[in-house]
Point group: C2
Chain length 146, copies 2
DNA sequence: TTAGACCCTCAACCTAGGTTGAGGGCAAGG
DNA sequence: CCTTGCCCTCAACCTAGGTTGAGGGTCTAA
């Protein structure tokens, strides 16, 4: 059972010290104690909660919502239903995000494949020609190289 | 072969009109032509490129980098190597992002499972007791319900 | 010929999420 | 006893990515 300084925590989670202080200021770390000099003192349990915070942040949860979750945690077991609701909703959001990401990634891969195809230059030229024809047919200026 | 107004484009991509104008202002849409009144005129090819832009945005690419990609596209086939490099690098970033997301999601699921376990209340109480003991042993104040 | 629905620009404003710097305190080692 | 390296607060500043509103033009249908 030991304690950690803000620097330790920063290193462990690969965050700037300023960010940890910012999170504290924003109410995400109400559980962190202070020593006689006002210095933050982190315990192992604190690290556990911070790990959860980082995890929620990684998945894109806004800090306000994270703060809300932490406040529910402070309240003890009575808030379990609310915590469940909050996390379940967030989980759904993350799943959607994963979907979107995977789909977009596929399109990027399609582009990449085009670029590494043997006749990539020819294909791009053909596309450019199509654009040129389209713009010309509509009497519009064409910003592409031609 | 037809043309589209900014409103059409906004609807198609589910973006506010203001965002499309903002992207244009930021140099992401240099290929969009104007009619005699200064109104933007979008072609089918334009929509294709915008689809790519949206895709890059979805995967978290900063607008500055997207602009760079678009500018490479304007230059014709000579910029294929640079485009390839840019997209390959971005693809790697997206893969990492997916990894992180999946891992964080797992932790969230672990939490959720805890909360829906039959003896969730007991477990949470035990955790709280542990925290209380830890803080007490170190002579620190405890912010949790107890 | 006027109302409604489009379109435009430009400048101001906004939120999230931090970062930076000034000004100051405590403690250990030389 | 002083330098180095931690820690602190508070206020200012910053970037990204938009949004909003004023002020004004065009076109169509009643």
């Amino acid at each position: 059972m030991s304690t950690y300084t803000i620097k330790d925590v920063a290193q462990q989670f690969q965050l700037p010290i300023s960010t940890i202080r910012y999170y504290d200021e924003k109410g995400l770390l109400p559980f962190v104690a202070r020593d006689v000099h006002g210095n933050r003192v982190f315990t192992d349990s604190d690290l556990n909660l911070i790990k959860t915070i980082v995890c929620l942040k990684t998945t894109g949860m806004p800090l306000k919502q994270i703060r809300q979750y932490i406040q529910l945690c402070l309240q003890g077991p009575t808030s379990i239903p609310q915590r469940q609701a909050l996390l379940a909703q967030h989980k759904a959001a993350v799943l959607q995000q994963q979907q979107a990401l995977a789909q977009a990634l596929q399109e990027i891969e399609v582009k990449l494949n085009r670029y590494s195809a043997p006749n990539a230059v020819g294909m791009i030229q053909a596309e450019l020609a199509y654009v040129a024809q389209e713009k010309a047919a509509l009497d519009l200026p064409n910003a592409f190289a031609h």
